[in-house]
Symmetry: C2
Subunit: 220 residues, 2 copies
DNA sequence: CATGCTAATGACCAGGTGGTCATTTGGAGA
DNA sequence: TCTCCAAATGACCACCTGGTCATTAGCATG
């Protein structure tokens, strides 16, 4: 008798299609209601399978969540790899612009996964929360740090920049921009929420301009 | 027979002290667990009063939440009034700095109220959510807009700034800064979380410098 | 057709929820 | 001291939760 792996082999042996159906439904359920309010009863009703099967596949609600969340992270990774590859060779500020669009594109094509991330960050009582958030921040902050360092080397950015502060600065802005696109009422009256691509584009240009030259009426 | 007001007169007639005790405990319960997972049973146990009383005071869980949240908003208003009054006459960028400190001060002295706000924004299924978030954003965005307009008039800011974009820019940064102070893992490795006042102060200075002059290696 | 074995099933369980209401309590007025 | 009535109480209700497990179904092999 050995300890159970999660997910169990019973789940792994399912057809790819059924596995995807189950995980997609789980992402929807968790993203809509958060961990604790998510209901296994509702989930299996939506799926048309028996409740016992879920526990045979994942052992517990926590196990189901774990597998579901890792499934989401895999999607994020794919997305980031793509954008990193695409914007090879362009300027720092264009890379930032591409990153914003990639973020919005992800939130658009995987709205439930993104909602789940938001809940995870701010709701505080998910299992394994700390571990997962750390994992995600390795992507985003490190990714931005690389961009900044490269930008400085290339002479596109001031060479005396405080890197930590700059990364935080960028991270805030980008993260919040995508949030405003998705969450509503977070756009401070700027009507970013669900705006057209064109509008978004001109908005991002404005922000990048502010980023580049600052707000102050400098003595240039 | 007329429709019940919430809170009922039974609650209103309580001593100020008991009212405060009840609302403080409710803020703690809701901020810790969110609306749906908050438990009336646990609340009354902590308070040492009977469950029936809560329903006599507020009619329902929703009624309790409404009164509790409005109690929090009142605290925010007080805080904003204070800081608005204090920083009369100082420069734009000093006002921004004061605002950051006021935000952190509020999150520090009313951690539960602030947590409740975060949950409200990102958890999506509170009652009256939309209404309340709108109400809150009237404060913050309008407040910042006033600062920006005044800054432009005084010649402290570029006079061709896009005001909407600038307000969004500032709102993102300030909001996120306070979040990073409270939430942990949101500081992109910048170690803002629960930092000392001194560290915070130097950090804010860095950020304001970025705000003022931008990131770009301009042709100044 | 019979056997054997795994996967699927859903009735059932203990425990927690918001909400109700008949009963008790406590203090003001006579 | 007795009366009265609003306020406080907590046992109780129907409902829902995650989780269990004896039973059934389905299918491959002999």
């Amino acid at each position: 008798m050995e300890t159970q792996k999660i997910p169990t082999k019973v789940f792994i042996n399912l057809t790819e299609d059924k596995k995807r159906r189950i995980l997609d439904a789980a992402v929807r359920e968790f993203s809509k209601h958060g961990f604790h309010r998510a209901s296994i009863n509702r989930l299996v009703k939506n799926l048309g399978i028996a409740k016992g099967s879920i526990f045979q596949y994942f052992g517990s609600k926590e196990g189901l969540f774990k597998v579901t969340f890792e499934y989401c992270i895999e999607q994020v990774k794919k997305s980031l790899r793509k954008i990193k590859h695409q914007s090879n060779g362009v300027s720092f500020f264009d890379k930032i612009k591409n990153t914003v669009f990639a973020g919005i594109e992800f939130a658009k094509s995987h709205p439930e996964a993104y909602q789940l991330y938001l809940k995870m960050v701010f709701q505080e009582d998910f299992p394994f929360r700390e571990m997962y958030i750390k994992q995600i921040h390795i992507f985003s902050a490190d990714y931005l740090r690389d961009l900044v360092v490269e930008g400085i080397e290339r002479g596109e950015l001031k060479k005396d920049l405080n890197i930590d502060a700059t990364v935080f600065f960028l991270d805030s802005l980008l993260d919040r921009f995508v949030q405003a696109y998705v969450v509503e009422f977070l756009d401070a009256g700027a009507e970013i929420h669900a705006a057209s691509n064109k509008k978004i584009s001109s908005y991002v240009d404005e922000l990048i301009n502010l980023l580049k030259t600052g707000l102050g009426a400098g003595e240039r």
